[in-house]
Amino acid sequence: MSVPVDEVLRSRVKNLEAMPAMPAILGPLLKCLDLPAEQIEIEKVTELIARDKSIAAQCLRMANSALFSRSSIETIRGAVITLGATRLRDILWSSFLIRMAPRSEWPLNPNAFWEHSFGCALVSQQLAKKIGLPEPEKIYLCGLLHDLGELVNSMLLPDEFRSIAERAVRETISLYDAEKQTLGFTHCDTGNLLAERWNLPSDIRNVIQYHHTPEQAIESAAFVAIVNLSDFLCRLRGMGYGYEEMCVIDFQEAPAWSLLRKSVPHLENLDIARFTFELDSEAEEIRRLVATAFQT
């Protein structure tokens, strides 16, 4: 099966060039921010961000969300200093993603894609932190970009995507299942194509490719598993795609859970119910963040 699917996939999305390229400043910026903390040049970072007015403005708006910082931040330089490299990188990516696709092309609730992406980024990071995964902040971007393929589908296959969305809403199923039935391939495959083209790090690419089939992930298994569970939690707790999806899950029976158990000792001690309840106030905060990000 995999060969024909792959062929169909490549022929269907041969237009990948039509997808937005990464903004010119993002590459050099990410390179600057990847340096060890003591080598990062604040002035250079500030100057690079300031070059792209729309990213700079978006960046400031996001930086002032309660989700990212406690104090009010008025300048790009202030953002660079207070937020730190990882957080800044997350915000840059978020700003880029927000401006990448016009909301009008999205057939579902217009804010839903971003609420789900930010939600999944945040929940993944909190889950990683809670279960004691080393470097939990690294997973934020994986969560943020896990559904990149939905953007690819909505932009390159707009008609099919519309009918997929309608089918998902009508049958109260996931977009993944609707894509499988309609296209034969899914946003995991198309997302991976774009991730390849953008040269994203392998952790992120593995998450994009396997977040619905974590048992198939050979590398980055813990990240894939966490994003898979967080994706479910978001869809279950009001940070899904804005339609009613009949999703039922027993986390401890989920493939991602057994996968995670291999790398996280004492996973059984996690109070899943409490973690779930905690998310109910996050959902509100996320909606506020997305609404702020789209202010013009």
């Binding site: 899950i249 109070d271 996050e282």
Partner: protein, 304 residues
């Protein structure tokens, strides 16, 4: 070139960081003792309810109130008083729509499918701690809605129990004020209620579907007879029990369920650390506890 000591990876700061730390301790205490979790967006509410107790006890600071809750001689009574403030006026028809939707769209079809295979056509539901009857009557309305379709050819019964005779009398009377029907859609109001001046009386068709009886959940011998249920509802009642009696009662509920049955508690109530037997299941916007069945086939059809 400024020294960049501030370029460190800060963690995501949640709204909780800006809240009085004592309030967070009260929240965590409530969760530890009762299993009720108030998320960050309920801090305002919690603060307000604590204020009421501060006034009642003539205390000036939340800190002293926290002491009263933890080290005071009347701490158990005080926790109960605070819980009363938190859950007061919560009862109404259709209180937890997402839970009801899980019952109607997932739980009932699933249970009926496995029962039908064994040629069983009977469902039993128990509302434990039914208070003044809103919950069991809501369940009755939901099942009545399905009686011509999904439940066609099936028998079903709803048992409601409470300790309080006054509440049971209210149940049998089945006349409610407007506050109790604040979540009730006009469709249900018109179909199942008759208005009597300012009040709403349930029609006999609904009243007759629920049988009420007095039951103390601590009464071990009587609990042993509560058997064979497909779903049990017990919202915001176990929170008043201490750890040992909660574990005992939840164990009785487990035994009272058929294998494959579901146990529903309050919206933000958790059984963490209370039961090793039940499995936590997530539905959209709701959680429930599941008694695994032995004959259940291992299915490959997992959600994606």
């Amino acid at each position: 070139m400024p020294v960049p000591p501030t370029i460190t990876d800060q963690q995501v700061e949640s709204a909780a960081e800006r809240v009085d730390p004592t309030l967070i301790r009260v929240r965590d205490l409530i969760y530890k003792v009762c299993g009720i979790y108030l998320p960050d967006n309920k801090f305002y509410f919690l603060n307000d309810r604590c204020d009421r107790r501060l006034k009642a006890l003539k205390l000036d600071f939340l800190g002293s109130y926290y002491d009263a809750l933890t080290t005071g001689s009347d701490r158990e009574t005080e926790i109960r008083s605070l819980l009363n403030e938190i859950t007061v006026g919560e009862t109404c028809f259709f209180r937890n729509p997402q839970q009801l939707s899980a019952l109607r769209k997932v739980v009932l079809p699933k249970i009926m499918e496995s029962k039908a295979k064994l040629s069983f056509t009977r469902l039993k539901i128990w509302s434990a701690g039914s208070s003044t009857g809103e919950e069991p009557y809501t369940l009755a309305m939901i099942l009545l809605e399905e009686s011509a379709s999904m439940l066609k050819g099936w028998n079903w019964e709803i048992t409601a129990t409470d300790l309080n005779d006054y509440s049971l009398a209210k149940c049998r009377e089945a006349v409610y004020g407007s506050y109790a029907v604040r979540n009730t859609e006009p469709y249900y109001l018109q179909k199942y209620f008759q208005s009597q001046g300012q009040s709403y009386a349930l029609i006999p068709e609904v009243k007759n579907r629920v049988s009420f009886s007095r039951l103390n959940l601590h009464d071990e011998s009587k609990m042993l007879f509560m058997k064979g249920f497909d779903a049990i509802f017990c919202a915001n009642l176990l929170i008043y029990f201490d750890g040992a009696s909660k574990r005992r009662t939840v164990h009785h509920f487990y035994n009272g369920l058929m294998p494959g049955g579901y146990f529903f508690v309050g919206h933000s109530e958790s059984l963490y650390g209370v039961s090793d037997e039940f499995r936590l299941v997530h539905f959209p916007g709701a959680t429930a506890y599941y008694r695994p069945s032995f004959w259940e086939e291992v299915s490959d059809e997992r959600p994606r």
